[in-house]
Amino acid sequence: MATTVITGRDLTLTIASTNYDAQATSVVLSNQATIDTYQTLDGKAYKHIDDQWTLAVEMLADWGATGSLCEALWTAWESAPNTTLAVSLTAVTGAVFTCNVLPEVPSIGGAAPGAQTVSLSFTVVGNPSETFS
């Protein structure tokens, strides 16, 4: 099998039907599994009991811009903080992951010399679904 390389340029992120490619510098969907360990007479035994997925997004702030992503996230958090937003994350053509996340309010501000950035860590409700084709 030939070596396959996919990069951040292959990523596509959509939250609540809005594309984030124009502002996002990083997106990572990851799972923190809870695994209980038992010491038995036969040695260690492991039991996978829970999963908590997180969608981490790093992006350039765009407050005040037409179609602002930061303002859309703020509005979602302010108006319906317990209503999930649909997320579609394409790792590469043929590998699409969908999930639902709770709204997260963007941070505001930054350091003087650089671009204002926003770090978001969305809590995923349930587990993501995948479409491999």
């Binding site: 340029r9 490619d21 124009a22 510098t25």
Partner: protein
């Protein structure tokens, strides 16, 4: 909509923003800049890709604004250069990250000598069409 260019979308607008600065302004490396001058020239690395996706070509552009004044008198030259740098910093439009200003140094161009400094700026560009 015509295809965008870095020249028309970034370098020329940046140079135009310096219309109020008392200097000869260039959006490229001039052959023989008369003092006082400022020129928008590419930094190294010039272009960086730091956004996800490839539907559009989006790059982070790094520039150096090289500025210089006549170096006939050292004390006056440094004062003039400082005033020129401050006026440039005030005229840089929003959307540009401003880095550091380099130590003044002598720059020989043609038969003349300038006291010059470099201001590091960064912005983002999205190719359309």
């Amino acid at each position: 909509m015509p295809a965008s260019t870095i020249l028309s979308s970034v370098r020329q607008p940046l140079a135009t923003a310096f219309a109020s600065v008392a200097a000869n302004v260039y959006d490229h490396v001039p052959e023989f800049p008369p003092n006082p001058f400022l020129a928008v020239v590419p930094n190294d690395p010039y272009m960086e890709i730091d956004l996800i996706g490839k539907t559009n070509v989006k790059v982070k552009l790094n520039y150096i604004i090289t500025c210089g004044v006549q170096n006939a008198d050292s004390a006056a030259a440094l004062d003039n250069l400082e005033q020129l740098i401050i006026s440039i910093l005030a005229a840089i439009p929003s959307g540009y990250e401003i880095g550091t200003v380099s130590q003044p140094r002598l720059l020989n161009v043609g038969n003349g000598e300038s006291l010059s400094s470099e201001i590091v700026v960064t912005t983002r560009y999205t190719q359309t069409n």
